[in-house]
Symmetry: C2
């Protein structure tokens, strides 16, 4: 590994061939793409997506790219923004096992929009998507995952998504190394986002912004715009501002042989992923114990869970995304953990759910990993019952099966497309690398 | 001062009245606006602006806002981007005396674009502009100027410009406090940029990006998008990621009585401001000493100068912006320091200028402020001569006069507009608060 990391990564991104992707990588790329297309459709009609589209549509250009699930088209930069926003608005997307990044939205949204104005094969799309996700995950890992040291305050998706988007777009546009490196630099220089925004629409906007920023960076680079050739490693560069001590090997070591995309995981529940082991445990306990028999729910939670989701009494859906108390209440009262269980009117303000949260208490167990939790219910009769989850459903150790992913996809897409078109789109995603024109995928999700 | 700083600043931004602005503040706001309009026109036909426009024009919306100096219109978000880029592309804009931020471009570009689709009076425009610049400068000061501690690696303009833009746009749109606070939060969450980009078009793009980001944030807030109400001070918020130890009093103390806009300064030379005292000294020495009699040029430079501009042998115009060696050579060989003195072909690659740089050596003097320098020339005859500049022309202690600003404006605008229209636009800027429709100003700069 040289010290010219930006150049090394750009060279890799333009040289890697589809034939070089191991079967497992192709499979995980397909699963990631399928999952995120479902998430875009599931979020397409969210009020926050409506608001962003209404705000910006007056300033958009010629309609050439699909606003998936909205029955409309726009210019590809706006489509990247809106589809990126929809992909993330329910926090139902995907997460790298180690780095807290939701990688697929900021790569898929611009890649699919670009495919409609710049036709490429399905194989090219899937390769570009896999490379974008791979380098986005590597970058995020290099910032904060030990031995790296960095601040959890940054939004991993916000600050690494633009790189993934630029790489996917640049690869689809057939960039040479210098142009790819320029696009990467432009995207890195515009990377932004911090976690104080959790609970507001600015959090899914980080995926949206990343989608658009990276695609725009590719358009700028193609037109001759310039950037630093050492955007990552240069003095006063990206790595210096976003990490106290970046892990360069995690970023640029073993390119083509170590695959971070294999560590991508998919959310079975539409909320902050660090709440998921608590949901697993609560649903398990609820099977045998009625909510009204419970006096208290004591939760031992991981450091990540406590830092991000120890938020009692959310006021609306977006705050509920990151409230472990809300979801514990949902599990015990309703026995479910679905999108409709965080609707502001019918769930977040449901008096029964609000009241139950008073029984829920979370404490830190520093030894727990972020996919683990221990939930103990103390009953009115004096008994207590404990469920320990070491690896929640959807984690790298207990990955969602293809069938579970298909069911999740169908649950999100069917209300928008109907059963027949949903099944057709599912097949397109599963066979994406056989498509002659990858734009068919976005158009089928109109 | 409360701990709800985002709320306090939003409340101030919506409540301040034009009648509350002291005369000196109105005057400095007019001078800032006049200077930056000149800079936009001076940069309007730069190849980097052409490249950005060519890259993105295919995706722009209905033409309603002027691309100043380009004889064209576009949608207001693209106009904010392109005019913001032009304002900064020659590094000829303005700088706060203490915080290294170039405040006016990211505020004027969106404000003028917005004025064309949302008519306001000149008084409203000038008030909105003054408030945007003021809060942008306060924010930048709060991050790095002692007693604050923060990293110089961040681009002050990139990370604080979006706030200034959002505040100006929100004020012009007549926002109430909560909507203004939301717009500020969206803009803060999308703030980005670091200094490794110096020497590339990504540096002026930071002003451009800030212009567009802030205006877009206002449009999103108007449509009901949401943000954290504590974007600045919240846990994992803006202040926590951009400063090790922010100075909250610099940010939010004495609103309406202390005015940072009075510390704005204007560049007499089109290059990094920390080179300016060196140029003053070199031009002074050059008046009495011919270049070919000089054996060596020894420069004692401030920490800021050494950190940002100790760059010998730039390769192109953008690198020349931040090369003290280039400008020392220009001063001694040509006796000038103009835009044409950094043209890539006729100046940066001029063999005489390149050769002279070998004689130039800079060393750090930690005691020098960034507007100070000491230049000693050692002659072939063994004699030596020293010029010490304590405060360079254009610094807060030696501000450019109104006549000097008018001459700078004319030098930039005349090649684009001709002498007659240049004079007319100058008068519009000088009397901006008397305009019934502030959009006249942008249209007069078409």
């Amino acid at each position: 590994m040289s010290t010219a990391i930006t150049t090394d990564l750009a060279a890799y991104a333009v040289q890697a061939r589809f034939a070089d992707l191991p079967d497992a990588v192709r499979r995980e790329a397909r699963r990631s793409l399928l999952n995120i297309v479902g998430c875009v459709l599931g979020g397409a009609r969210h009020a926050g997506v409506d608001a962003a589209h209404a705000a910006l549509a007056p300033f958009t250009g010629a309609a050439s790219a699909t606003l998936m699930g909205r029955g409309d088209k726009s210019d590809p930069l706006h489509a990247a923004l809106i589809n990126g926003l929809a992909s993330s608005v329910y926090s139902f997307d995907d997460t790298h096992e180690q780095a807290v990044v939701h990688p697929s939205g900021p790569v898929a949204a611009p890649a699919l929009a670009l495919a409609e104005i710049h036709p490429v094969s399905g194989e090219t799309l899937l390769l570009a998507f896999a490379l974008g996700v791979e380098l986005e995950c590597r970058l995020c890992k290099s910032l904060t995952v030990p031995p790296a040291k960095g601040s959890l305050a940054w939004s991993g998706t916000g600050i690494t998504g633009p790189l993934g988007a630029a790489i996917a777009a640049g690869r689809m546009l057939g960039f040479d190394m210098p142009t790819m490196r320029t696009a990467m630099g432009i995207a890195l220089a515009q990377s932004a986002g911090f976690r104080a925004m959790h609970g507001s629409l600015c959090t899914p906007m980080m995926a949206a912004q990343a989608s658009q920023t990276g695609l725009r960076a590719a358009f700028l680079a193609r037109a001759g715009f310039t950037s630093s050739p050492a955007a990552l490693e240069g003095r006063y560069g990206y790595l210096s501002v976003f990490s106290e001590s970046p892990d360069l090997d995690a970023l640029a070591g073993d390119l083509g042989s170590r695959w971070e995309i294999l560590r991508n995981t998919y959310k079975p529940y539409p909320c902050g992923i660090v709440i998921h082991p608590i949901i697993d445990a609560c649903l398990h306990l609820r099977a045998d114990h009625a909510a009204d028999a419970i006096a208290a729910v004591d939760i031992q939670a991981s450091p990540g869970t406590m830092a991000l989701c120890n938020n009692r009494n959310p006021k609306d859906e977006l705050q509920a995304h990151v409230s472990l108390h809300h979801w514990a209440a949902v599990c015990f009262i309703r026995g479910t953990a679905r999108i409709e269980d965080m609707d502001t009117e019918t769930a977040v303000r449901d008096p029964a759910l609000m009241a139950f949260q008073d029984k829920v208490q979370a404490t830190l167990d520093p030894a727990l990993s972020s996919d683990a939790a221990v939930v103990t219910i103390r009953m009115h009769d004096g008994s207590h019952h404990t469920c320990r989850i070491d690896h929640c459903i959807g984690s790298a150790q207990r990955p969602m099966t293809d069938d579970e992913l298909a069911a999740k996809f169908a649950a999100m897409a069917t209300p928008v497309l109907g059963a027949g078109r949903t099944q057709g789109l599912l097949e397109l995603c599963r066979g994406v690398e056989t498509l002659a024109d990858a734009g068919d995928l976005a158009r089928a999700a109109a």
